[in-house]
Amino acid sequence: MTRTAMSLVWLVPLLPLLGFVLNGTLALVRPTAKTAVSVIGVGAVVAAFGVAVAVVRALAVGHAAEPVVFTYWSWMPVGSLQVNAALQVDPLSAVMLLVVTGVGSLIHLFSVGYMREDDGYARYFAYLNLFVFFMLTLVLGASFPVMFVGWEGVGLCSYLLIGFWFTEQINADAGKKAFIVNRVGDFGFLVAMFLIFQHAGSLNFTDVFAKARSLFPLGSAAVTAITLFLFLGCTGKSAQIPLYTWLPDAMQGPTPVSALIHAATMVTAGVYLVARCNLLFALAPVSSAVVAGVGALTALFAATIALKQWDIKRVLAYSTISQLGYMFLGVGTGGGATVAGIFHLATHAFFKALLFLGSGSVIYAIHHAYHATHSHEDAQDMRNMGGLKAHLPWTWVLMWIATLAIAGVPPLSGFFSKDEILSAAFARGGVERIWYLFWGMGLAAASLTAFYMTRLMLYTFHGPNRTGERERPLLREAPWVMTGPLVALGVLSAVGGVLNLPALLGGSSRLERWLAPVTEAGAALLPAHAVASGTEWTLIGIAVAVALAGIAGALRMLRPADLLPAQRAPAETGFARVLWKKWYGDEIYDALIVRPIMWLSREVLWKIVDVRLVDGAGVNGAAAVSRALGWVGSRLQTGELGFYVVLFVAGVLFVLHVAVR
């Protein structure tokens, strides 16, 4: 019976795929049929959620120790390489399944309101459905290549949706940048797959993980290389240093897309990948430290940038990068912290989706006001906001819940997940000192998080309103189809912590027990590291104090009343300018990588090597040489027999020399 319910798992990705096909057809032949598009688009994902719940329930009842693999057809069978189109249901894919279809359903619903007036409505839902299909393929794939189908597929949808309003070059540029930067990461994923196949002779998760411990001695070069290449893939998809630069630009897409793809689901794929391969990472301590270190560094680095952004979505984008850093700190620390990383992935999906959709509500309100007055002010600049709590009370309350959650204020969800990550990092510091440093960086980032989120709330909702005299009366809450999903996410953000309430706080670590079949083999390899419950309480105290300090600092230091609208605001100076300019990351990459490659390709490879050397000197030169030889040949035809005989003998000698040698 349970197996029957579970065997419906193919429906979960298939329904959104069907939605894509139908909506894609509508987009081409009848783009105005918006009602049909909504029903198909939202219905497909909600139905997928329904099936996913049934599948996960069946899994919970079945207590399968091993992943349940469903094979549909043989995809790439070549000699010893046997890759099947197969899906895998296990505790980890189950968590992802629920997050993706659950949060996905809410965001699809929100989109019905947000995108209603857009000409590309059908195309939008087609892409969004396609995204869900690929995301589900990513989390359900039973092998690296099938996962990679989803991995690049979500990148494609991200590309299409970032550049959704493609007639603005900045949007199309941002989409392309996302795709190309992700491809750099995908390069790592591919090389990792080749290495895995070389060593394990298979690319199926179950085969590789079953053999891993006998194949790879702890800390061996092979498994270290594999995991580092995998992690390169993660830094692309999950926007970590050094491949983070595409995500802030990705905010050019519609805001629900930012919520779904660039906060709740796609960007967490890297975290999922590390968690999926936690056994391999546990076998490679160096790689684990790299993952945790890059995560901690990214968490801190992105948080500093978020301090000085004015675009509300950019703040959230850097915040996302930063929070993804925490997740990597978690899965990089390994063992129980792998669960904490996934836990934070889930809670972050709730509160960050809420923050993005909330910002969407805000932008929607301001955009409509500006639209009505034909103003060309920036609807996303916080300097044009302020005092919105009077106009959008629901959004205000809900976004505060999310803000406190992300800041790590108990008892909201983010507190539990972030605290578990930090505690685990601290605990591992007991055996490997460097983790103390990671813990410290995470802690510092936590206080910055609290600070910049409070800043966002203050500037957006509090103080006087700076939108404009004529626009102010027009500001109002979005329709219920948009606010409804916010409420649902607000509830999840508030109580999401119960998913994995630790024993220390009277819970039963439900998520940890649920994921144990996935993580225990890797956890067994790690050096024992645990902290006494007294220390644990101290750590919790420190984390909470740091979060509160961040909030209090923002409340004390920032004066929303002194802020000027964007048009009249003074330019940033000094260090604030460095942060506002994102530490000049884009400029540095542009100068060091993008422009040199373009210059090399155009000015050297094409215009000199290809046109002048190969084609010019080589080919046309050969033509000149042959003309010259022709002239020599004509001179040789002297008509004197003796000369011919000499030539003939020389030729024969040459041929003999070649043949006999």
């Binding site: 043989s74 790439m76 007639t167 070059q169 190309i180 090389v191 090597v609």
Partner: protein, 496 residues
Amino acid sequence: MYAHWVLTALLVWPLVAAAVIWIAPERAAKHLALAASLVEFALSLPLWWIFVPAAGMQLVQTFAWIPGWGISYKVGVDGISLFLVLLTTFLVPLSVLGSYSYITKRERSFYALLLVLTTGMIGVFVALDLFFFYVMWEVMLIPMYFIIGVWGGENRLYAAIKFFIYTMLGSLLMLVAILGLYFAVGARTGTYSFDYTHVLGNLGDLGPAAWWFFGAFFLAFAIKVPMFPFHTWLPDAHVEAPTAGSVILAGILLKMGTYGFLRFALPFFPTVALHPTVTTAIVTLSLIGIIYGGLVAMVQPDFKKLIAYSSVAHLGFVMLGIWALTLQSVQGALLVMINHGISTGALFFLVGMLYERRHSRLVAAFGGIAKVVPLLAATLTVVSLSAIGLPGTNGFVGEFLVLLGVFQTHPVAATIATGGVIVAAMYLLGALQRVIYNPLDKHENESLLDLTPRELAVLIPLLAGIVWIGVYPKPILERMEPAARQFIQSVQPGAA
């Protein structure tokens, strides 16, 4: 009956049709050509089912031609040539249909030449007699020369002559090598014959001469592939050729180079081909092709030239896959050959369709046209994604198998080649953006027509191929596998 005659019928039928078209009324030419090429395709289709993968070379038919010189007409297919034959009969009707509005002058000659070209191409792939192979190689050269030179763009004569001289240079050297082999084997065995099996079976140790023979074959095939630095005829030929010419050139003619390596150069001279210096040289040139071809493609203002350089990159994957000699890499290389025919063929069709609308091939002439021609834009997107190897499309399966296979024997080369996937995204997405996205800022583009039913009929079979091979390549892979194994065996006994 069918099995016995099918290959010969595939060779003769286009010639008959060409003769009929030559004397038919001008107006009927394209319809007749379409009908004839569809018949050709229908004739070839049962091959898919009657082909027995494990049976090696099959459907062999032999007639003595010039017995005194050991020349015979001998044809057959195996798992390597089967798909190239089918790709040819598949692409030709599409090329005819795609030329309906593009070719407006001397239609009879054009379509007749296209059909003669078909015979030449199929002949190259099925020939099992070296002399017959050489004849077919030349047969296909001449129609293509005219197709470029008569129906091409402004600079067509330069391009046609360049194409001709390049290919001629290679093929003359190849002729010398074929004759050399003929005499060498004849002297050794006493039987002077151009028969492929005879020559292959009695080559023995050629000593240093093998290096010269290999060199001659190498040049002939490397020009055709084209490998860096023998590639500069390709951008010119592609840019100037009419759409159908570009499609056939990229889809089929380039494959003759890689096919030549698979059928002749490697099995004949394995010790030379696998000599470390040669291997290193080939691998290096292939890598240069992949990276350099991609980077140069990226900065081309002309869309057709961009695709031409991307072909250099794609064929670099094929060469790499062939030389790596693993089952995955060789089958991957065979698949990339097919995929390149489908995807690059489709790209050339689309660029041709854009050209017919705007009379410009420049990327900069467009911009924002997804708003005006959504169907064309969607198709161009899908085809571009397949060309950059997005999983789920044909391009991924081929490149993945090549890279995975190459990695097993040449890990460093495979890693560098994998970097090519980044470059591919850079050049194609860049062009895609500048054509279909960005502001719709040119007045002429505001009234473009979307794809017509005829154009859809050209593109849909290609799109179907892209998805089919991307999702379910197994029927193709399993038909190739024995031939790929045999190829590896013949070059490197004991492997695979």
